[in-house]
Amino acid sequence: MKIVEWLSQPWPWYIAGPLIGLTVPILLILGNKTFGISSSLRHLCAICIPSTISYFQYDWKKELWNLFFVTGIILGGIISATILADPNPVQLNPALIKELQGYGINNYEHLIPVDIFNWQSLLTMKGFILMVAGGFLVGFGTRYAGGCTSGHSITGLSNLQWPSLVATICFMAGGFIMANLILPFILKL
Protein backbone atom coordinates (compact mmCIF):
# COMPACT_ATOMS: atom_id res chain seq x y z
CA MET A 1 0.00 0.00 0.00
CA LYS A 2 1.34 3.42 -0.99
CA ILE A 3 0.47 5.24 2.21
CA VAL A 4 2.28 2.70 4.40
CA GLU A 5 5.41 2.99 2.27
CA TRP A 6 5.17 6.75 2.46
CA LEU A 7 4.81 6.70 6.24
CA SER A 8 7.65 4.20 6.59
CA GLN A 9 10.30 6.61 5.33
CA PRO A 10 12.16 8.66 7.95
CA TRP A 11 10.05 11.70 8.81
CA PRO A 12 11.72 15.11 8.38
CA TRP A 13 12.06 17.41 11.38
CA TYR A 14 9.52 19.91 10.03
CA ILE A 15 6.84 17.22 10.13
CA ALA A 16 7.82 15.51 13.37
CA GLY A 17 8.60 18.64 15.40
CA PRO A 18 5.21 20.36 14.98
CA LEU A 19 3.43 17.01 15.61
CA ILE A 20 5.37 16.60 18.87
CA GLY A 21 4.51 20.19 19.76
CA LEU A 22 0.82 19.50 19.16
CA THR A 23 0.95 16.85 21.90
CA VAL A 24 0.92 19.75 24.39
CA PRO A 25 -2.51 21.19 23.42
CA ILE A 26 -3.96 17.75 22.63
CA LEU A 27 -3.32 16.46 26.17
CA LEU A 28 -4.59 19.70 27.68
CA ILE A 29 -7.78 19.62 25.63
CA LEU A 30 -8.35 15.89 26.21
CA GLY A 31 -8.43 16.40 29.97
CA ASN A 32 -6.17 19.10 31.42
CA LYS A 33 -3.11 16.85 31.31
CA THR A 34 0.34 18.39 31.21
CA PHE A 35 2.65 16.69 28.73
CA GLY A 36 5.60 15.17 30.55
CA ILE A 37 7.04 11.70 30.47
CA SER A 38 9.59 11.43 33.28
CA SER A 39 6.72 11.71 35.80
CA SER A 40 5.72 8.19 34.74
CA LEU A 41 8.90 6.89 36.41
CA ARG A 42 7.85 8.52 39.65
CA HIS A 43 4.37 7.01 39.42
CA LEU A 44 5.94 3.57 38.90
CA CYS A 45 7.89 4.12 42.13
CA ALA A 46 4.74 5.28 43.92
CA ILE A 47 2.89 2.15 42.78
CA CYS A 48 5.60 -0.48 43.28
CA ILE A 49 8.08 0.67 45.91
CA PRO A 50 6.70 3.72 47.75
CA SER A 51 8.31 2.58 51.04
CA THR A 52 7.75 5.33 53.62
CA ILE A 53 9.14 8.07 51.42
CA SER A 54 6.80 11.06 51.48
CA TYR A 55 7.81 11.93 47.91
CA PHE A 56 6.02 8.78 46.76
CA GLN A 57 3.02 9.06 49.09
CA TYR A 58 0.29 10.36 46.85
CA ASP A 59 -2.74 9.08 45.04
CA TRP A 60 -1.06 7.72 41.91
CA LYS A 61 -4.43 6.64 40.54
CA LYS A 62 -4.98 10.29 39.58
CA GLU A 63 -1.92 10.07 37.35
CA LEU A 64 -2.81 6.76 35.69
CA TRP A 65 -3.31 8.60 32.41
CA ASN A 66 0.47 9.11 32.29
CA LEU A 67 1.08 5.35 32.42
CA PHE A 68 -1.50 4.79 29.68
CA PHE A 69 0.41 7.36 27.62
CA VAL A 70 3.81 5.68 28.05
CA THR A 71 2.28 2.25 27.38
CA GLY A 72 1.05 3.81 24.14
CA ILE A 73 4.61 4.92 23.36
CA ILE A 74 5.79 1.29 23.67
CA LEU A 75 2.97 0.17 21.34
CA GLY A 76 3.86 2.99 18.94
CA GLY A 77 7.42 1.66 18.94
CA ILE A 78 6.15 -1.83 18.09
CA ILE A 79 4.03 -0.49 15.21
CA SER A 80 6.96 1.56 13.88
CA ALA A 81 9.26 -1.45 13.93
CA THR A 82 6.78 -3.77 12.21
CA ILE A 83 4.09 -2.23 9.99
CA LEU A 84 6.05 0.98 9.43
CA ALA A 85 9.54 -0.53 9.46
CA ASP A 86 12.17 1.21 7.37
CA PRO A 87 14.73 -1.25 5.95
CA ASN A 88 17.39 1.38 5.22
CA PRO A 89 20.29 2.19 7.54
CA VAL A 90 20.23 5.49 9.43
CA GLN A 91 21.63 8.36 7.35
CA LEU A 92 24.34 9.85 9.51
CA ASN A 93 26.98 12.53 9.28
CA PRO A 94 30.11 10.79 7.87
CA ALA A 95 32.23 12.48 10.56
CA LEU A 96 30.24 10.66 13.27
CA ILE A 97 30.55 7.31 11.49
CA LYS A 98 34.30 7.82 11.15
CA GLU A 99 34.61 8.57 14.86
CA LEU A 100 32.41 5.67 15.96
CA GLN A 101 34.18 3.17 13.70
CA GLY A 102 37.27 3.97 15.72
CA TYR A 103 35.45 2.50 18.72
CA GLY A 104 34.39 -0.62 16.84
CA ILE A 105 30.83 0.49 16.10
CA ASN A 106 30.16 -0.83 12.60
CA ASN A 107 26.45 -1.65 12.55
CA TYR A 108 24.27 1.26 11.41
CA GLU A 109 21.23 -0.83 10.44
CA HIS A 110 19.31 0.03 13.61
CA LEU A 111 18.43 3.25 15.40
CA ILE A 112 20.64 2.22 18.29
CA PRO A 113 24.16 0.80 17.94
CA VAL A 114 23.59 -2.90 18.53
CA ASP A 115 27.36 -3.39 18.74
CA ILE A 116 27.34 -1.84 22.20
CA PHE A 117 23.67 -1.96 23.27
CA ASN A 118 22.93 -5.65 23.69
CA TRP A 119 22.41 -8.19 26.48
CA GLN A 120 25.96 -9.59 26.23
CA SER A 121 27.63 -6.22 26.69
CA LEU A 122 25.49 -5.42 29.71
CA LEU A 123 28.07 -7.05 31.96
CA THR A 124 31.04 -5.30 30.38
CA MET A 125 32.23 -2.03 31.88
CA LYS A 126 31.31 -0.11 28.73
CA GLY A 127 27.82 -1.59 28.46
CA PHE A 128 27.17 -1.14 32.18
CA ILE A 129 28.10 2.56 32.08
CA LEU A 130 26.08 3.24 28.92
CA MET A 131 22.92 1.33 29.82
CA VAL A 132 22.76 1.01 33.61
CA ALA A 133 24.60 4.12 34.84
CA GLY A 134 23.15 6.13 31.96
CA GLY A 135 19.62 5.02 32.78
CA PHE A 136 20.16 5.83 36.45
CA LEU A 137 21.31 9.37 35.59
CA VAL A 138 18.28 9.85 33.36
CA GLY A 139 15.92 8.86 36.20
CA PHE A 140 17.75 10.70 38.97
CA GLY A 141 18.52 13.80 36.92
CA THR A 142 15.08 14.31 35.42
CA ARG A 143 13.39 14.01 38.78
CA TYR A 144 15.91 16.33 40.48
CA ALA A 145 15.37 18.80 37.64
CA GLY A 146 11.58 18.34 37.92
CA GLY A 147 11.08 17.26 34.34
CA CYS A 148 12.74 16.03 31.18
CA THR A 149 12.86 17.03 27.54
CA SER A 150 9.08 16.79 27.27
CA GLY A 151 8.13 18.39 30.59
CA HIS A 152 10.69 21.20 30.63
CA SER A 153 11.98 21.69 27.09
CA ILE A 154 8.65 21.34 25.31
CA THR A 155 5.83 21.94 27.80
CA GLY A 156 7.74 24.38 30.03
CA LEU A 157 9.20 26.43 27.19
CA SER A 158 5.81 26.47 25.43
CA ASN A 159 4.39 28.10 28.54
CA LEU A 160 7.39 30.51 28.67
CA GLN A 161 8.61 29.28 32.06
CA TRP A 162 12.14 30.57 32.62
CA PRO A 163 13.08 27.76 35.08
CA SER A 164 12.41 25.38 32.19
CA LEU A 165 14.81 27.37 30.03
CA VAL A 166 17.46 27.00 32.75
CA ALA A 167 16.78 23.27 32.87
CA THR A 168 16.94 22.92 29.08
CA ILE A 169 20.26 24.78 28.89
CA CYS A 170 21.64 22.46 31.60
CA PHE A 171 20.34 19.33 29.77
CA MET A 172 22.21 20.46 26.66
CA ALA A 173 25.33 21.49 28.58
CA GLY A 174 25.44 18.10 30.31
CA GLY A 175 24.98 16.33 26.99
CA PHE A 176 27.74 18.34 25.30
CA ILE A 177 30.16 17.68 28.16
CA MET A 178 29.41 13.96 28.22
CA ALA A 179 29.34 13.35 24.46
CA ASN A 180 32.50 15.31 23.64
CA LEU A 181 34.68 15.08 26.73
CA ILE A 182 33.79 11.91 28.63
CA LEU A 183 32.04 9.50 26.25
CA PRO A 184 35.14 9.00 24.02
CA PHE A 185 36.96 7.49 27.02
CA ILE A 186 33.99 5.25 27.84
CA LEU A 187 33.69 4.02 24.25
CA LYS A 188 37.40 3.16 24.27
CA LEU A 189 36.87 0.74 27.19
Binding site: P12, P18, P25, G134, M178
Partner: protein, 167 residues
Protein backbone atom coordinates in the same frame (compact mmCIF):
# COMPACT_ATOMS: atom_id res chain seq x y z
CA UNK B 1 -24.14 9.11 30.19
CA UNK B 2 -21.58 9.35 32.95
CA UNK B 3 -21.80 12.42 35.07
CA UNK B 4 -18.46 13.83 36.13
CA UNK B 5 -18.04 14.01 39.89
CA UNK B 6 -16.32 16.68 41.91
CA UNK B 7 -13.46 15.54 44.06
CA UNK B 8 -11.44 17.04 46.82
CA UNK B 9 -7.92 18.10 46.07
CA UNK B 10 -5.83 16.93 48.99
CA UNK B 11 -2.62 15.44 47.68
CA UNK B 12 -1.98 17.77 44.77
CA UNK B 13 0.73 19.46 46.84
CA UNK B 14 2.70 16.25 47.23
CA UNK B 15 2.37 15.26 43.61
CA UNK B 16 3.38 18.66 42.30
CA UNK B 17 6.58 18.58 44.40
CA UNK B 18 9.57 18.81 42.07
CA UNK B 19 7.42 17.92 39.10
CA UNK B 20 6.84 20.00 36.04
CA UNK B 21 4.16 17.74 34.72
CA UNK B 22 1.35 17.61 37.19
CA UNK B 23 -2.02 18.96 36.39
CA UNK B 24 -5.24 18.54 38.19
CA UNK B 25 -8.60 17.82 36.70
CA UNK B 26 -11.59 18.47 38.90
CA UNK B 27 -13.42 15.64 37.17
CA UNK B 28 -13.34 11.98 38.11
CA UNK B 29 -13.79 9.56 35.27
CA UNK B 30 -13.87 5.77 35.09
CA UNK B 31 -10.40 4.33 34.49
CA UNK B 32 -11.11 3.32 30.91
CA UNK B 33 -11.45 6.98 29.93
CA UNK B 34 -7.64 6.81 30.01
CA UNK B 35 -7.61 4.83 26.78
CA UNK B 36 -7.63 8.10 24.85
CA UNK B 37 -4.19 8.77 26.35
CA UNK B 38 -3.05 5.31 25.25
CA UNK B 39 -4.04 6.27 21.72
CA UNK B 40 -2.24 9.62 22.00
CA UNK B 41 0.82 7.74 23.27
CA UNK B 42 0.75 5.36 20.29
CA UNK B 43 0.78 8.30 17.87
CA UNK B 44 3.52 10.00 19.88
CA UNK B 45 5.60 6.81 19.93
CA UNK B 46 5.31 6.44 16.16
CA UNK B 47 6.44 10.07 15.68
CA UNK B 48 9.46 9.52 17.95
CA UNK B 49 10.58 6.43 16.06
CA UNK B 50 9.86 7.60 12.52
CA UNK B 51 11.65 10.90 13.11
CA UNK B 52 14.57 8.87 14.56
CA UNK B 53 14.43 10.94 17.75
CA UNK B 54 14.97 7.67 19.65
CA UNK B 55 18.23 7.04 17.82
CA UNK B 56 21.42 7.02 19.91
CA UNK B 57 23.22 8.10 16.73
CA UNK B 58 20.99 11.16 16.23
CA UNK B 59 21.59 12.23 19.83
CA UNK B 60 25.35 11.92 19.32
CA UNK B 61 25.06 14.06 16.17
CA UNK B 62 23.11 16.66 18.13
CA UNK B 63 25.71 16.93 20.89
CA UNK B 64 28.51 17.16 18.31
CA UNK B 65 26.69 19.80 16.23
CA UNK B 66 26.87 17.44 13.26
CA UNK B 67 23.23 17.61 12.25
CA UNK B 68 20.39 20.11 12.39
CA UNK B 69 17.76 17.37 12.66
CA UNK B 70 17.25 17.23 16.45
CA UNK B 71 17.41 21.02 16.78
CA UNK B 72 14.77 21.28 14.08
CA UNK B 73 12.55 18.74 15.85
CA UNK B 74 12.82 20.31 19.32
CA UNK B 75 12.74 23.89 18.02
CA UNK B 76 9.66 23.45 15.86
CA UNK B 77 7.97 21.47 18.65
CA UNK B 78 8.51 24.37 21.06
CA UNK B 79 7.24 26.95 18.54
CA UNK B 80 4.13 24.84 17.84
CA UNK B 81 3.58 24.25 21.55
CA UNK B 82 4.02 27.94 22.40
CA UNK B 83 1.54 29.04 19.72
CA UNK B 84 -0.92 26.40 20.98
CA UNK B 85 -0.60 27.50 24.61
CA UNK B 86 -0.97 31.15 23.57
CA UNK B 87 -4.15 30.33 21.64
CA UNK B 88 -5.59 28.24 24.49
CA UNK B 89 -5.08 31.16 26.90
CA UNK B 90 -6.21 33.86 24.44
CA UNK B 91 -9.34 32.06 23.22
CA UNK B 92 -10.02 30.48 26.62
CA UNK B 93 -10.29 27.07 24.99
CA UNK B 94 -11.78 24.45 27.29
CA UNK B 95 -11.25 20.69 27.54
CA UNK B 96 -13.57 18.32 25.70
CA UNK B 97 -15.45 18.04 29.01
CA UNK B 98 -15.90 21.81 29.23
CA UNK B 99 -13.32 22.33 31.98
CA UNK B 100 -11.16 25.41 32.09
CA UNK B 101 -7.55 24.65 31.08
CA UNK B 102 -5.12 25.62 33.81
CA UNK B 103 -1.43 26.40 33.76
CA UNK B 104 0.86 26.30 36.75
CA UNK B 105 4.02 28.40 36.97
CA UNK B 106 7.24 26.49 37.66
CA UNK B 107 9.34 27.48 40.66
CA UNK B 108 13.06 27.76 40.17
CA UNK B 109 15.24 25.36 42.15
CA UNK B 110 18.91 24.43 42.06
CA UNK B 111 17.72 21.03 40.93
CA UNK B 112 17.12 22.41 37.47
CA UNK B 113 20.85 23.09 37.24
CA UNK B 114 22.35 20.08 39.07
CA UNK B 115 19.68 17.60 38.03
CA UNK B 116 19.64 19.10 34.55
CA UNK B 117 23.37 18.49 34.10
CA UNK B 118 23.09 14.94 35.47
CA UNK B 119 20.21 14.20 33.12
CA UNK B 120 22.28 15.65 30.25
CA UNK B 121 25.06 13.17 31.08
CA UNK B 122 22.55 10.31 31.07
CA UNK B 123 20.96 11.54 27.86
CA UNK B 124 24.30 11.44 26.00
CA UNK B 125 25.16 8.00 27.45
CA UNK B 126 21.87 6.20 26.79
CA UNK B 127 21.01 8.31 23.75
CA UNK B 128 17.53 8.55 25.15
CA UNK B 129 15.41 10.73 27.35
CA UNK B 130 12.51 8.99 29.15
CA UNK B 131 10.06 8.96 26.20
CA UNK B 132 12.52 7.32 23.79
CA UNK B 133 13.42 4.70 26.42
CA UNK B 134 9.85 3.39 26.19
CA UNK B 135 9.83 3.66 22.38
CA UNK B 136 13.19 1.86 22.03
CA UNK B 137 11.81 -1.09 24.00
CA UNK B 138 8.83 -1.17 21.64
CA UNK B 139 11.09 -1.32 18.59
CA UNK B 140 12.56 -4.56 19.93
CA UNK B 141 15.64 -3.29 21.77
CA UNK B 142 14.76 -5.43 24.78
CA UNK B 143 17.98 -4.69 26.66
CA UNK B 144 16.72 -1.12 27.15
CA UNK B 145 14.30 -2.58 29.72
CA UNK B 146 17.39 -2.63 31.96
CA UNK B 147 17.98 1.09 31.32
CA UNK B 148 14.34 1.79 32.11
CA UNK B 149 14.54 -0.13 35.40
CA UNK B 150 17.71 1.76 36.18
CA UNK B 151 15.91 5.04 35.48
CA UNK B 152 13.11 4.00 37.85
CA UNK B 153 15.79 3.19 40.44
CA UNK B 154 17.36 6.63 39.88
CA UNK B 155 13.97 8.24 40.42
CA UNK B 156 13.50 6.23 43.62
CA UNK B 157 16.94 7.21 44.95
CA UNK B 158 16.14 10.85 44.22
CA UNK B 159 12.85 10.48 46.08
CA UNK B 160 14.58 9.00 49.11
CA UNK B 161 17.27 11.72 49.17
CA UNK B 162 15.19 14.69 48.03
CA UNK B 163 15.04 16.36 51.45
CA UNK B 164 18.82 16.23 51.84
CA UNK B 165 19.69 17.56 48.39
CA UNK B 166 20.11 21.29 47.70
CA UNK B 167 17.06 22.85 46.06
Amino acid sequence: MIMPLKETNTDFEVRSLDAMCINESELVHPWWFNFKYLFAGIIFGIILVKAQVISWFRIQEMFRLQSFHMYGVIGSAVVTGAISVFLIKKLKIKTIYGEEIKFYPKQFSKGQIIGGLLFGFGWALTGACPGPLFAQIGTGATVIIVSLFSAVAGTWVYGSLSKKLPH
